[in-house]
Symmetry: C2
Subunit: 404 residues, 2 copies
């Protein structure tokens, strides 16, 4: 008998009516002869309400107690969803993280799943129950409730699917699949039927919000057949798997973009070899995320390094560099704001040299200046002026044949 | 080192401010050199909100899932209270029912505590932590979350105090102790310094809302030194213990009363011996609670039995008796409404014959007709017209020297 793990996020379970809708959806799967595990998040704004309550008590609540508090969110959803199944004439059992045997590290707010003791769920599935599992939470070895951090419910679903050797893991969300680009900005954006784990991982890391990179990585490492589907329709969505049948022989599979980028350029004395490491160590200590790094060393000028950061960490970056200039040992730092990052992603790039050159050519034809470049095996990112972001994305989307 | 278990109900933890107040109160105890365990209920109206949510899904939600849902209420409170301790510079750990080792029967909504595995709490106390425990909840042998039913948090506190061999168990509430009678109706009502377990048990069963009878019984059976105190003041409250120093040699310790009582009188054929049992078996099957039962058998009339019920179950009682008249085998049933029950309680009664006669005399002097009587070793209850309830209670309270 095939097993499916279905995951529904906060907006899909925001009201009692929507919870009943989720139950009906799962019942349709069971009626096809599947064993069904449902993973759910906290209802709509529950987490925000709980965070507010904690904020009324303390500005720095202990993390263990935050986990204790936040874990109630999903516990409410699983109880209500199990009630909905019963009301619709089906048997269901709800399970908190610890009841589902989800054992994690002892790292509050950001625990990783270490193993899943599936006996109880397996038994309930064999007995014909729908199993309703709280996402986002687990328990450490000494019995403390932990939460998995951002994207936690996606990770719960994928990890459960792996542990149960489920035949599929379906992530239900408020979009109907993974798109070649953001349809709000790119006219021709269309849904992909398939995408590889690596491509999805790059897109997820680039901010395509449908699926958390941690969950994608877990699915990739454990060969979990994953799909992203709409909770409001029966359309098949996008399948994420190892080997994909490339549609129309597309080299590029998606175009992602992000605004609010700043570029920092630091010049330093050639003699002072430690400067480069010092800069990034110092920034890391202050939790400033650095994205693209480009170094340029020529004979006739002092060496310099440029790196991109989010605009909202610019102030902190300036402060830190100014305070530590002597210690780090650099000559000057300049800052440029109003930038964006545009990326193309596709596993086909590996075997197609010249994709980068082609990309620069497309942007040049549109008159868009490229400020920085970063490449990986299946991704090329460029930093361009924010005013050109939408134009760049659309031009690349069209040029690589992604538009419908 | 002495150990104290402090229990705070829903109104005492209704807001973040009140939760901080509870933490401050507990810190004062610790500063006296005590080890402190705090048991809390769900915040204010949380349980009502959760019940409403369940009601939106199903009119008959499965009990296991109701427990799963309701248990989140106390879990929120314990997390917030532990945060409050930390914010005030103290170390605390919160524990759900299962984390506190509270093992119950597998009876959802109304489980009894079977045993408490105190290792984790003992360790945390030895390590100097405040232990914050969720009241009202536990876990059964196979790991289902259970709740203890009405008065559950009181029971958690008393059971934990017994298991930890605590030196005292203090129930903090919105009144400052146990009163000789309800001060809203009886002018001279005053707070008792001490009361015996048995007296408290009778008063609790008679509806004195400060403490649940189950908790009192547990305290009595396990010799837990109990007290009822105000959460808003430092007054000592009322101590509940086995042997009490009788104040002013009072025989009667309290006067309790309850309105909304109906009397049912059923006459049956002398020959039909099974009638009496039939009546009460039938009513029990329909979950109709019968309180006082008085039987009268004379030679010259058909035998009859009178019993008191709550007025709100009158309609159901009439329906059930009418439907089953033939089967039960009775001649006629009459109903009287607009009655009340007034009770006097005191362990001194056992060794003081004539208390009942004295009680009837007091009521006779006030011109109050007594419709039914029921006596136990330490309690006498009478059913009188509702219009005379307040007068009866005040007259008895004064006559037995309870008024200040």
């Amino acid at each position: 008998m095939e097993t499916v793990v279905m995951k529904f996020g906060g907006t899909s379970v925001a009201t009692p009516e929507k919870i009943i809708g989720v139950a009906k959806r799962a019942i349709r799967e069971k009626e096809k002869g599947l064993r069904v595990v449902i993973v759910v998040s906290a209802m709509g704004k529950t987490t925000d309400t709980l965070l507010e309550l904690a904020g009324d008590i303390s500005s720095q609540p202990p993390k263990r107690e935050m986990d204790m508090l936040l874990a109630t969110g999903e516990q409410v959803t699983i109880a209500l969803l199990a009630m909905a199944f019963k009301m619709l004439g089906h048997e269901a059992l709800s399970f908190t993280g610890w009841q589902a045997g989800i054992e994690t590290e002892s790292v509050p707010r950001n625990a990783r799943i270490e193993q899943i003791h599936t006996e109880r769920i397996e038994q309930a599935l064999s007995d014909g129950y729908f199993c309703v599992v709280a996402g986002f939470q687990g328990v450490d070895k000494i019995g403390n409730i932990t939460t998995l951090g951002r994207g936690g419910s996606d990770t719960t679903a994928v990890a459960l699917a792996a542990a149960l050797r489920a035949d599929k893991c379906e992530i239900y969300t408020d979009v109907d699949g993974v798109y070649t680009s953001d349809p709000r900005f790119v006219t021709g954006a269309r849904k992909l039927e398939q995408i590889s784990y690596d491509e999805m991982l790059e897109l997820a890391n680039l901010g395509a919000g449908v699926l958390h990179p941690r969950a994608v990585e877990f699915a990739k490492n454990n060969h979990v057949p994953l799909s992203v589907r709409a909770s409001y329709s029966d359309e098949p969505g996008t399948i994420i798997q190892e080997v994909i049948t490339v549609e129309k022989n597309l080299i590029v599979r998606g175009v992602a973009f992000e605004s609010g980028i700043a570029r920092v350029t630091v010049t330093y004395k050639k003699a002072f070899n430690g400067s480069l490491a010092n800069i990034f160590t110092t920034l890391a200590k202050h939790h400033i995320d650095v994205d693209i790094i480009v170094q340029s060393i020529t004979d006739d000028a002092p060496p310099s390094v440029s790196f991109s950061i989010k605009e909202d960490s610019l102030e902190e970056t300036r402060r830190v560099l100014a305070e530590r200039q002597e210690e780090i040992g650099f000559l000057a730092a300049t800052y440029e704001v109003g930038l964006s990052k545009v990326s193309i992603v596709g596993s086909g790039m590996v075997s197609n040299p010249g994709v980068a050159a082609q990309m620069f050519d497309i942007l040049r034809l549109e008159g868009i200046p490229v400020k920085m470049v970063s490449t990986s095996e299946i991704k090329i990112s460029v930093v361009v002026p924010e005013a050109d972001m939408k134009l760049s994305a659309n031009a690349l989307h069209d040029a690589y044949g992604l538009s419908r």
